[in-house]
C-alpha cells in the first residue's frame, strides 16, 4: 500500500507541474501584455516595467524561471499591486478562507450526516420529507443566491430578524452568514448522499444477519449500518473541497471577506496575471493533495480496497 501511495504522490506532483505549465501558457497567450490598461502607460514606462519583471526575456527562459520559482515555492510578484508578492497575498488570504472553510466543513459533517441518517431511519415520515425538501433546495439553489438571501433576511432586509452584520468577520456573528452559505450546497448533498447510502445499507443482507444474531438495534445502526453508509460519503469529500473552494470565491465577494477567493476574483477583475496564475496553481496543488489524503482515509475505512491495480 505504501508503494501505491508513493506512486500516487509522484503522479500528483507531475499533475501539479502540468497544471502550472498549462496556466503559464494560457496566461502568456493572452493578447496584449500585462500592462495593457485602459489608460495606456507611456512606452518608456512599460519598457522599464517589462525589464524589471523580466518580461523581455525569451518565453522559454521566463517559463524556466517561473518553474524554478515554483520549486522554491515562490510564485513571483504581482503586476498590479506593485511591491506585493503573490506569496504574501496567499498568506494574507489563507486565514479567513481557511476559517470559514473549516467551519463550513464542520457544519457539513455534524449536520449533514445525522440529518441523512435520521431521514433514512424515518423514511417517508414527515421529518424525512422536511429534511429532503430542504436538501433539494440546498443542492439546486446557487450559493450566491443563498448568501444574498441570508444578508437580506438576517442583516437588515427584515427588521425583526436583523441579527447579523452584513459583512466582515470582525464579530463571531459575522461568521454565521458566510459559513452557512458556503456549507449550504455540500451540506444538502451530504444529507442526500448519507440518506440514500443509509437506505441502501439497511437493505443489505449483513444488516439482517446482525439482527438475526440478536444484535441490539442501536448497535445494528451505530456499528453495522453507519460505518458502511459513510463509505460513499468519503468519496464525496474531494468534490466537496472543490465546491467549498469555488464557493468561497462568491461568498468572500458577497460578505467582503479578505480571503484568498476574494483576492482571486480581484485579480481576475484587475487582470493581474501572476496572481491569477499563482492562486490557480495553489488551489490545484491544495486540491490534489487533499484528494490524495482522502484516498488514504478511504483505504483505512474500507478494508476491501486493494491497491495492486490502481483505482478501480
Amino acid at each position: 500500500m505504501a508503494k501505491y501511495f508513493i506512486k500516487r504522490f509522484v503522479v500528483a506532483i507531475i499533475t501539479i507541474l502540468i497544471i502550472a505549465t498549462l496556466t503559464f501558457v494560457m496566461m502568456h497567450s493572452i493578447p496584449g501584455g500585462p500592462f495593457t490598461r485602459e489608460k495606456a502607460l507611456p512606452e518608456a514606462q512599460i519598457q522599464i516595467l517589462e525589464e524589471k519583471y523580466h518580461l523581455d526575456d525569451p518565453l522559454i527562459k521566463q517559463y524556466g524561471d517561473y518553474m524554478a520559482g515554483l520549486f522554491r515555492l515562490d510564485l513571483g510578484p504581482s503586476f498590479v499591486k506593485i511591491g506585493v508578492e503573490v506569496n504574501e497575498l496567499i498568506a494574507l488570504g489563507i486565514p479567513p478562507t481557511a476559517k470559514i472553510g473549516l467551519f463550513a466543513l464542520i457544519l457539513i459533517v455534524i449536520l449533514g450526516i445525522p440529518f441523512g441518517i435520521i431521514s433514512a431511519l424515518k423514511q417517508n415520515k414527515p421529518i424525512d420529507y422536511i429534511v429532503m425538501f430542504m436538501a433539494t433546495l440546498g443542492v439546486t439553489i446557487p450559493s450566491f443566491v443563498v448568501a444574498t438571501l441570508i444578508i437580506f433576511v438576517f442583516a437588515g432586509g427584515v427588521p425583526a430578524l436583523n441579527w447579523l452584520p452584513t459583512f466582515g468577520l470582525t464579530s463571531p456573528l459575522g461568521y454565521i452568514g458566510p459559513v452557512l452559505a458556503l456549507a449550504g450546497y455540500s451540506l444538502s448533498f451530504v444529507t442526500r448522499l448519507t440518506r440514500s447510502s443509509m437506505l441502501e445499507v439497511l437493505r443489505q443482507d449483513y444488516i439482517r444477519t446482525a439482527r438475526a444474531n440478536g444484535i441490539r438495534e442501536y448497535k445494528v445502526m451505530a456499528k453495522h449500518a453507519i460505518k458502511n453508509a459513510l463509505i460513499p460519503v468519503i468519496t464525496y469529500i474531494g468534490p466537496m473541497i472543490a465546491a467549498i473552494m469555488t464557493g468561497s470565491f462568491v461568498i468572500e465577494k458577497i460578505f467582503h471577506i479578505p480571503g484568498i477567493g476574494g483576492y482571486f476574483i480581484e485579480s481576475i477583475t484587475n487582470r493581474d496575471y501572476t496572481v491569477i496564475m499563482g492562486i490557480t496553481v495553489f488551489y490545484a496543488a491544495f486540491y490534489i493533495i487533499m484528494v490524495l489524503l482522502v484516498d488514504v482515509a478511504y483505504a483505512l475505512v474500507d478494508p476491501r480496497i486493494k491497491f495492486t491495480k490502481g483505482k478501480s
Partner: protein, 338 residues
Amino acid sequence: MGKILEVNNLHTSFFTHLGEVQAVRGSDFSMEEGDILGIVGESGSGKSVTALSVIGLIDEPGKIKEGDIIFDGKDLTELSYKELSDLRGNDISMIFQDPMTSLNPVFTIKNQMMEVIRRHTDMSKAEAKQHAIKMLEIVGIPEAEARISSYPHEFSGGMRQRVMIATALSCNPKLLIADEPSTALDVTIQAQILDLMLSLQKEIKTSIILITHDLGVIAEVCTSIIVMYGGMIMEKGTVDEIFYEASHPYTIGLHKSVPSMSRKSNERLVPIAGSPPDLLKPPAGCPFSPRCDHAMQICLELPAPMFDINKTHCSACWLLHEDAPKVEGIEKGEAKNG
C-alpha cells in the same frame, strides 16, 4: 421428545403502496426436537417469509396479521422486539442464502463473531475469542486462529458460509433456520455445506428448518417436508411420502420438472405451465388452481382444507375429497377439519 416449534394459522402480509401483499396465508405446521424440516417452494411461495416470521424479522411494511408461533413453550408473536432479540442468535439462529453479502464487509470475522457470542453469554473477550476460534475449527476452517482476524472479502463463498454457520451455532441454538444456505454456492461446495450441517446437527442436536427450492437438497438431508405455494402449504409429509407418494398436483408437477438420475433417458422434463399467483390479488380458491391440470370448479372458488392421508402425511387438494373424481396417482384422504 417434545415439540420445539408449532406454527398455527400464520398470516403475514406486506402493506405496500400498491396494496396488501398476502405473502403467507394460513400456515400450520409443527416440528419435533431434533427434526430437520424442509420447506420447498418456488420464489414467492412464502417459504422465506414463514421463516422470517418465526424469527421476528419481518421488516416494514410487513406484519404478522394473525396466528401463533409457539417456540419452546413461548408464543413468539407475543414477545417484544427486544425480548425476541434476546432469543435471536441464542435460541434461534438463522443463516441466509448469499454468504457473499451476509457478512459485514468492514469488520473482521473475529469482531462479528465475538459480538454475537458476547451478546448472548457472559464470556470475557479472551474466552469469546477462544470460543469463536473453536467454532471456526468445528465448521472446518483451517488455521482458524490466524484467519479469524481476516475480513470477509478475504474468504471464499463456501468459507463465508462456514463462518455464518459457526456464528449461528456459537450459542448452541435450539433451532437453526437455514434459508437456501447452499443455493449461491458452487455445486461441490453445496454438498460440503450440507454435509457439514448434517454432521453438526447430530453433534449439537439442533433442530433445523431448511428452506430451499431444490428438491435434491431436501431429499438428502430432511426428515420431513412442507411444500408451499402461493403463500399456502400444499402438502406435508416425510421425505419418502413427499417423494414417492406425493398426492398434490403441485408436488407431482415439481417432481416432473426436475431432472433425476432415476428418470428414464427418453423421459422428458415437464415444466408447470403458467406463473405463480399475484399475491396482491390471490385467487379465491386454491392458489395452484389456475395452473393445475385437474382443476375443478370448487378449486377456483374455495381453498382446499388439509386432507389427512395418514398420521404424518396430509395434502390440501380437493381431489382428495370423497366426491371428487378419481385421478391416477392421487389417493383419497380424510378431511382434517371436516
